[in-house]
């Protein structure tokens, strides 16, 4: 009985990977342009932004929450960094203008992301606003601030130094892929091997038990949303660098792609079950799907229908698995 159970559990854990392999095989058979090194790197580079967002989203969902503001936070962090690189900040009371270095501006962008995430966490834990509503508010606030900061126009021409983040390659791989891979490695360790990670699973698995077991549930949630904010900022920096431009409407709707990747990757929307690696596979599935459908000349309208269907099937499987247990 118990043996069967574990085999079954392993199988269901591997399910997203099997889907990914099946899709790669299918796409390769359908298009001879799919299975090439160039297309492989292309897919990896394209998904690196979503991977960064989705690592944060995975932790938020594991803890039993949701973060709808990631796309807006991405845009604001990118815009702040771009703005600080482009022009000096006048400080009239000191009689000077403050010109940030590229690295200084990057740090500022990350701090903005952290702060917005921290703010989400405070709204959720102190004011007891449900995560869906709190981050929905932040989605609008951060987007509005981005518009105010950019005055509605893209900020472009950000220089060679900043371009490294999104456009260069190192040791044969594009820098965004390195960054995303590094973050995946880091957060696999954090979620699986640290007290913080275990606490996140515990809070999502059963908040009341977690609290009674002496975990500081509120602090854990604030950390989770703060990390999601920082990771969104990283995604924003990569994207801004790759386009050499901070777009005021960057990242619109990205929260949906991110949630889709997490869910397809096998993380339960009710919290406590799932993994960062699963989410990476979820991102790859979406990436392969996007790339394959483009190569097959499927119309963009149909692409959306297909993507939506994949999400529904993934969630349906998740529900079946949950009731089966």
């Amino acid at each position: 009985m118990s043996d069967k159970l574990t085999i079954w559990q392993h199988a269901s854990r591997l399910q997203p990977l099997l889907v990914l392999i099946l899709m790669i095989v299918a796409m390769s058979l359908l298009s001879d342009r799919f299975l090439t090194a160039a297309n492989g790197w292309n897919i990896m580079r394209q998904i690196s932004v979503n991977v960064c967002l989705s690592i944060g989203m995975t932790m938020v969902i594991l803890s039993g929450g949701i973060d709808l503001s990631v796309g807006s936070v991405l845009a604001l962090a990118g815009a702040i960094t771009a703005g600080l690189i482009k022009s000096a900040v006048p400080m009239p009371w000191l009689g000077v203008e403050l010109q940030f270095t590229t690295w200084g501006a990057i740090v500022c962008g990350l701090i903005v992301g952290w702060f917005l995430g921290w703010f989400n966490g405070q709204m959720i834990t102190r004011l007891k606003i449900p995560p869906f509503v709190a981050t929905l508010g932040m989605l609008s606030i951060a987007r509005g601030l981005t518009m105010l900061w950019t005055k509605g126009f893209p900020i472009t021409g950000l220089g060679e130094g900043f371009a490294i983040l999104g456009t260069r390659t190192a040791l044969g791989a594009p820098t965004p892929v390195w960054i995303a891979a590094g973050l995946v490695g880091l957060f696999v360790v954090i979620t699986k091997k640290t007290r913080l990670g275990r606490s996140i699973y515990a809070v999502g698995g059963n908040e009341q038990t977690a609290r009674l077991s002496g975990l500081n549930v509120n602090r854990i949630k604030v950390i989770v949303y703060s990390l999601a904010g920082v990771l969104s900022a990283v995604a924003g920096l990569i994207m801004t660098s790759r386009l050499d431009s901070a777009q005021p409407n960057a990242g619109m709707g990205y929260e949906l792609d991110s949630i889709a990747a997490v869910v397809i990757g096998g993380t339960s929307l009710s919290g406590g079950r799932g993994s960062v690696l699963g989410t990476v596979i979820g991102c790859l599935i979406i990436g392969v799907l996007n790339s394959g459908l483009v190569l097959l000349d499927v119309s963009p309208f149909w692409q959306q229908v297909v993507k939506g269907s994949v999400i529904l099937v993934a969630v349906a499987i998740d529900r079946m698995r949950e009731s089966g247990e």
Partner: protein, 518 residues
Amino acid sequence: MIRPSTANQVVLAAEGIVKRYPGVLALNQVDFAIRSGEVHGLIGENGAGKSTLMHILAGVAQPDEGIIRLDDEPVRFANPREAMDRGISLVHQELNLVPWLSVAENIFLGRELVSGLGLIRSSEQNRQCRTLLADLDATIDPRSEVHRLRVGQQQVVEIAKALSSRARVIFMDEPTSAISDQEVESLFRLIRSLRAAGISIVYVSHKLDELLRVSDRITVLRDGRLVETLEAATADRETIVRLMVGRKLEDLYVHSPAIPARSERLRVNRLTMISRKARRPAVDGVSFSVRGGEVFGIFGLMGAGRTELLESIFGLHPTRTTGTVTIDGQPSDICSPEQALNSGLGLVPEDRKHQGLILGMSVEQNISLSSLAEIESVGLLNARREREHAQRYVEQFSIKTPTVKQPVRTLSGGNQQKVVLSKVLSRQPGVLMLDEPTRGIDVGAKREVYSLVDRLKREGMAIVVVSSELPELLGIADRVMVMCEGRKTAEFDCSVANEEVLMQAAVPGADAEVERGK
């Protein structure tokens, strides 16, 4: 609306009802009959089977064996709706009304009066509803939204709803648990007028005095069996209490004498906790102290505030709690479970599945949940240490599990409880609080829990046990405190206490008698 009644004729009867839940025989061959136009009181300890019996007769649950007869004809109710259609209604303790709908909309919910166009005839509903409420002498506007009404009024709406579906038997589950004394009086008047109209009322409560006042007959349940049905006119408190508890102590309990002259480990002084819902104290000025090497029992019926007391001590309601808690002589200001654990308190909560365990996690992950710092090295959780940490407890408490990696949900209740105990004990608390530690676990596991409690006591731990089972408390505790409606009503040394005096002190409205008895 109301049929003429034939006195003493049986309306609804249960014959040989058996109901099993996993690990528990909730009802064992129960024969129970309700006559027309009588008020039938149903009483028993927590877990005696009152709710189960009521649920089976009202279609909420189905019996495993036995038959239900309505007017001498066998019936089966697949759900409460079917029972209601046959004239059997249940007025729940937590009232089942939709708060944002009006009184009339609630009463006609699911069988609205509709016009030929399929639209709801609101004014007709309101008119009928007004007549119905007038019959009950209630001054409630059918158009007012239910959440604006007081609880007593909501109860009247529930009763009106039952009557509007031509109820002949109405089950009332702890109807006075949330209403004022004045509202109790008008409820009793209402019950009497319903009886006069030939409607049968089954009044389920643990409030003995009310039961004696309002009932014609009283049935006592104990351990899933019907003990006796008495005429209320000739019954008295003492008899009923004796019938409720009359059980033999089994050779189940492990109890060493208290170790004398140990120092005090826990002192609670005038602890009061205001309940969020009722805005009245759930715990009202309770004081007690426990020494090392002593087991301190807390007894009370449902809603007596025992769980709330433990939760308040453990820092779960810091903003609504007043009073002081002293641990090992140190006054401690505990504002969270985290601080409570750090000050040497441990709590095994009442609800194992929802408060004690994370069901999706493995045995070892559950055991290490409170002591993650111990299995950490250089900032990372060490898998080997975690396994060994869990292994230690699995062996010590003989937790039956194939490996420590086994999902905890697949374990039996007793073994799950030992996992929770392991988690709490891994912090080496000086004071251990156990809330219903043996609920829903089998006899063998119970005995193991008792002998563990005894061992911890001999090692000098101070142990607080909350339980609804009197024999259990008398079997393992050195002293017992009794709570009723948030207050401490009595404290006994177990060498002189017996089940009846404890039950007397636990039943509401008994304060005066206990004073006399002392």
